[in-house]
């Protein structure tokens, strides 16, 4: 009888947990944009479409996935001057997506990366400022690679790798849509 109970319990947890989100919310989208554009007077949406041809080209050139059909950039302005571009995006850590925001300057330099929602049970150390500060100043032509410009964290390697991939994707998209 005891055995039946335990097996049943494991089955319930296993089958329901497949669609699970054990998430820790650090920033809502509104909070994230307020943090990214704290000195801007306006923030506007700029939806960028990922055509199949563009996706194929970018994935072939960069060997990272571009899974969305559209990418929404948020453009912060002070008057007519653009302060920066923010992209809210997701990348799979171990099994769950990590939602994060990347702020890119008008020159194509990462100014800030922040975790918005972390859903994995292990590896949450990537949300610490000490890890995220490593992204500041990174560009596409630099050392934005795990264990090169970005040091990994033992026990959180997959999450660290996901954020590096996500930040690279943000820069590639910025370069595609706004770069000169």
């Amino acid at each position: 009888m005891k055995k039946c109970f335990w097996i049943s319990l494991v089955c319930v947890i296993f089958f329901t947990a497949q669609a699970a989100w054990a998430q820790k919310i650090y920033l809502t989208p509104t909070d994230a944009l307020k943090l990214m554009f704290k000195n801007s007077s306006t923030v506007s949406e700029a939806k960028q479409v990922m055509t199949p041809e563009l996706r194929q080209k970018l994935e072939k050139e960069n060997r990272i996935p571009f899974p969305k059909n559209t990418y929404m950039f948020y453009v912060g302005k002070s008057g007519e001057k653009i302060d920066g571009y923010a992209l809210i995006d997701e990348e799979i850590g171990k099994v769950e997506p990590i939602t994060f925001v990347t702020l890119i300057s008008p020159e194509g330099i990462i100014e800030q990366v922040e975790i918005m929602v972390y859903r994995e049970s292990h590896g949450g150390e990537v949300a610490q400022s000490r890890f995220l500060n490593q992204f500041r100043g990174k560009t596409l032509v630099g050392d934005l690679r795990l264990n090169q410009g970005i040091r990994s964290i033992t026990g959180a390697t997959l999450s660290a790798k996901a954020l590096v991939t996500g930040a690279r994707r943000a820069l590639i998209l910025w370069q595609t849509f706004y770069g000169k």
């Binding site: 009888m1 055995k3 039946c4 109970f5 097996i7 049943s8 319990l9 089955c11 319930v12 947890i13 296993f14 089958f15 329901t16 947990a17 669609a19 699970a20 989100w21 054990a22 998430q23 919310i25 989208p29 509104t30 944009l33 307020k34 923030v43 506007s44 949406e45 700029a46 939806k47 960028q48 479409v49 969305k68 059909n69 559209t70 929404m72 453009v75 809210i88 995006d89 997701e90 099994v95 769950e96 997506p97 939602t99 929602v117 859903r119 994995e120 049970s121 292990h122 610490q128 000490r130 500060n133 690679r145 264990n147 090169q148 410009g149 990994s152 033992t154 026990g155 997959l158 790798k161």
Partner: protein, 421 residues
């Protein structure tokens, strides 16, 4: 019995299915910032100025309103774990060459809200039929709640991992480069070592890239199996692990580790543990373990398409003070060097692959006042391959020497595969 079992499983699956489908509520999109309306995807360019993101259809909450309490509970829960299968050949001296389903660990975690979470691991070792003392067992490895007040202050209670060194905490088979754990983490630190108790932990990051973290617990403590405070000679301390139900005396164990990282990639740690081994009425047989650990990880470099590095240096050292019949102290250390690399041509086929070459030296003396039979030395060389980060295939050669017990000096060939899920 079988019919009952079948009915239970069917019922469980049904409950699960109903739990997931009974409500017509939309699930929280894990994709933020992408339009759900395909027609909108055709419109590119700059949109309206706003700050109220919520109006544009983004979810501001973790769980959609209207979802039942039961589903909320299940929805917050994740299941993961790791598994490793090993092959061990010591020439037939201690055991026949054999495959071993060493560990299957199932972890269940739940983040109840932004400050409260639970984490657990249930371990089936060697198939899991027996008791914790003979190795084959099903047991809780850890099960605790974390209540976070600040980054630097989180209360933890339950079955906690004792924070002695790094290996006991980061012990998952897929994270370790060698199949076997270092000798000091088997004989002095009886990893995986957990006890029932309460404590605090936290971290703080300084602006100049320095950081510190700490863990401090009060737990039931190790216990002499005979109640008289004796430690176990050349068998080390593995037999001193107590169950999770009750203490053998009124004297609680205190353990703690302070980690300091002066720069990214380097961490130094100091840890301590003290307890009374003897049962109530059998006197005070105090055992105190002091430890130090170090880990340095270099950056990696890219030559052409070949990745070289990172190089990692890690080590731990332990000194035990104990005054029982025949044993007055223990000493042990290990030093390990890992070199990661992956050739360019391989990256075209396996973009996330990594090779690692390792070398490790271990020394343990489980009775510094006793004969040299209590000494053991081990030199290990090995290599592993990770086609993807959660899966590793390992092979190593172990040279054992320095002990007057012949069986301890036998060389071993060990291979294993470990996967996290």
């Amino acid at each position: 019995m079988k019919v009952k079992l079948f009915h239970s499983i069917v019922l469980a699956c049904l409950i699960s299915w109903v739990g997931q489908n009974a409500q017509a509520e939309p699930e929280l999109p894990k994709s933020v910032g992408e339009s759900s309306n395909p027609s909108e995807n055709q419109d590119a360019g700059e949109g309206p100025v706003y700050y109220e993101i919520k109006k544009e259809g983004h979810n501001e909450t973790a769980v959609p309103e209207g979802v039942s309490g039961f589903k909320k509970f299940l929805g917050r829960t994740t299941v993961g774990g790791y598994f490793d299968v090993e092959f061990d050949n010591d020439g037939g001296v201690n055991n026949a060459s054999s495959f071993d389903a060493h560990r299957f660990v199932l972890g269940v975690s739940s983040q109840l809200n932004n400050w409260l979470s639970i984490n657990s691991e249930i371990e089936l070792e060697h198939g899991g039929d027996g008791t914790i003392t003979n190795g084959d067992h099903v047991a809780l490895e850890q099960a605790f709640f974390d209540a976070t007040v600040r980054d630097w202050l989180t209360f933890r209670g339950g079955v906690v991992l004792i924070p002695m060194g790094r290996v006991n905490i980061l012990h998952d088979a897929n994270l370790l480069d060698f199949t076997t754990r270092p000798l000091p983490d088997l004989l002095i630190i009886p990893s995986t070592w957990s006890e029932t108790g309460v404590g605090v932990h936290g971290f703080h990051n300084f602006a100049n890239n320095m950081a510190f973290n700490y863990e401090l617990y009060v737990t039931n403590g190790l216990a002499s199996p005979n109640g008289d405070g004796n430690v176990l000679g050349n068998g080390g301390n593995r037999g001193l692990r107590n169950g999770f139900r009750s203490d053998n005396n009124n004297d609680k164990a205190i353990s703690g580790r302070l980690g300091f990282s002066p720069m990214t990639g380097l961490e130094l740690g100091a840890s301590a543990y003290t307890t009374d081994l003897a049962s109530n009425g059998a006197g005070d047989e105090r055992m105190t373990i002091l430890g130090g650990d170090l880990r340095y990880q270099s950056p990696s470099w890219e030559f052409g398409n070949t990745i070289v590095g990172p190089v990692e240096l890690e080590g731990e050292v332990y000194k035990t003070f104990v005054d029982t019949n025949g044993v007055t102290g223990q000493f042990g250390y290990y030093a390990q060097l890992n070199f990661h690399w992956f050739p360019g041509p391989f990256r075209k086929v396996i973009p996330d692959g990594t090779f690692t070459n390792m070398v490790r030296f271990n020394y343990v003396d489980t009775n510094t006042a006793g004969a040299s039979t209590d000494e053991r030395k081990r030199l290990e060389i090995g290599m592993n391959f990770r086609p993807i980060e959660p899966f590793v295939i390992k092979a190593e050669y172990q040279m054992n020497f320095g002990s007057e017990t012949a069986a301890n000096n036998n060389d071993r060939i060990i291979a294993s595969a470990a996967i996290a899920f």
